[in-house]
């Protein structure tokens, strides 16, 4: 139990540290990959908390998605290599305030929300996965299918953004 708490704290601190690195670096790629490793550390926290599927999924999906974020940042941000030493921090006061408020809100929710009784026995990873599947096909089917629709909307929006590009060219020339 104590080792579990120790690793949980260690990965948590790593996640926070990588989160800070996102803003401390000048390079866009470093920034994006720092965010990735922050997310990976969160995935490791899930593993420590014995939520295996969630943890592995987080570790897997973030690797590809943050890499795609990296390429889009390199594509669209000024000076992605950090050669001009541009500062990553913008609108400090506003973001500081927003950060503090969000932090307090998260603390508040975690402390005051009714989480129900704590589970005494952690189901095995296989069981968790199975239960999740049954949940998806049973009670949460509507949520599941509407997630499909949301993804469809996202795809259409993404396509609209992606195919805007050639149209722009005609404007420019």
């Amino acid at each position: 139990m104590t080792a579990q708490v120790f690793f949980l704290a260690a990965f948590g601190l790593a996640a926070v540290w990588f989160g800070i690195v996102v803003f401390r670096t000048h390079s866009m790629v470093r920034s994006a990959l720092a965010l990735l490793f922050s997310q990976t550390a969160i995935g490791a926290m899930f593993l420590v908390m014995q939520a295996e599927f969630l943890g592995v999924l987080q570790i897997m999906m973030m690797a590809t998605e943050m890499s795609i974020m990296a390429i889009f940042m390199v594509m669209f941000m000024m000076d992605p290599g950090g050669l001009g030493e541009m500062d990553m921090k913008h609108q400090r006061k506003l973001s500081l305030a927003a950060g503090v408020i969000a932090f307090l809100a998260a603390i508040g929710v975690s402390v005051f929300a009714d989480w129900g009784p704590a589970a005494t026995v952690v189901p095995s990873a296989d069981e968790q996965l199975r239960m999740l599947g049954i949940e998806l096909l049973g009670r949460s089917m509507l949520i599941f299918e509407s997630a499909g629709l949301t993804i469809l909307t996202a795809m259409i929006a993404a396509t609209a953004v992606a195919v805007q590009m050639p149209a722009k060219k005609e404007d420019a020339s």
Binding site: R30, M60, T64, S67, V74
Partner: protein, 299 residues
């Protein structure tokens, strides 16, 4: 004991992959080749670029090796002969190998060299093509075995190997796996005549040695995954389980690398087009077919 066997498997496997890899390039089998090359690299200077992102440059080869080794941890060689039998093994395999991409992007960006950088970003494009073709066939495999555990997946093939049960999935997974291990003809990030080494171009000496090691373990890992998911893993008559695993993995490695010798390197644009316009629809068809099969013929 089993730990020792697994370490031995890792070492021997890497060695054999290196021998086969050299054969696939030079056409000659030289058993001492990998050892010599490793010693040469160990004794060569490991040059650091002038104004690099040093952290990236240093981390990339290590990350590649670690990701490849971790992905091997869920490969069962025989009943009981596995590092970790995770309940989400098949998913974990993917998760570990997703960091190959991260390693290549870091290694490409790190040295501030054009060939390397283009190679790294190219691999991202390649991943966008192959990634779905890795996960969708694995889903179909899991539908049959009712589990993501690699041990259960092998056991589910007791009566019929998956290569026969879902051949379409095997073809897609094999091609995607080759792209994942960036072996020819999918060696876009490191193409010799194309990018003069690409991501590998700036690595010399011991860093290159680690990079190459990671590459070999990666090939071994992909071949092992093909064996476990589709070729019945340790299943086979007469010989003990581990021997079957070893034979199958070596044969798959050799076939994989031999195919690259005979095919021209793919174009990234057409690779992406093939993957998305043909591969993904076929993978969905595969899921549907397996779905019907699983319900109708409960093998």
């Amino acid at each position: 004991m089993s730990t020792l066997i697994l370490v031995l498997f890792l070492l021997l496997g890497t060695y054999f992959v290196a021998v086969i890899e050299e054969w696939s390039v030079t056409g000659r089998l030289r058993p001492a080749g990998p050892v010599r090359a490793a010693l040469r690299l160990l004794g060569t200077e490991s040059v650091l670029a002038r104004k690099p992102d040093r952290l990236f440059f240093e981390v990339a080869p290590v990350l590649l090796l670690v990701a490849a080794i971790l992905s091997l941890a869920i490969i069962p060689l025989a009943p009981g002969l596995i590092v970790t039998d995770l309940a989400t093994g098949a998913l974990f395999f993917n998760a570990a190998l997703a960091y190959v991409l991260v390693a290549l992007i870091m290694g490409g960006w790190g040295p501030d060299g054009a060939y390397a950088m283009i190679g790294g970003w190219r691999f991202l494009g390649q991943l966008i093509g192959y990634a779905m073709l890795v996960v969708m066939p694995i889903t179909a495999v899991a539908m049959r075995s009712e589990s993501l555990s690699t041990v259960v997946i092998v056991q589910s093939q007791e009566q019929l190997w998956n290569i026969l049960y879902q051949p379409l999935g095997f073809v897609l997974f094999a091609l995607a796996g080759m792209a994942m291990a960036f072996v020819p003809p999918f060696d876009l990030p490191t193409g010799a005549g194309d990018l003069a080494g690409g991501v590998e171009a700036e690595y010399t000496g011991v860093r290159r040695l680690v990079f190459r090691l990671g590459r070999m373990v990666l090939i071994l890992s992909v071949a092992s995954a093909m064996t476990v998911f589709y070729l019945g893993g340790w299943l086979g008559p007469v010989l003990p389980g581990w021997a079957w695993s070893a034979i199958k993995i070596l044969v798959v490695t050799a076939l994989m690398l031999a195919a690259g010798r005979a095919l021209p390197r793919v174009r990234e644009a057409s690779f992406l087009a093939w993957c998305w316009k043909l591969g993904i629809p076929l993978a969905l068809v595969n899921i549907f077919l397996v779905g019907v099969l699983v319900l109708v013929v409960p093998l």
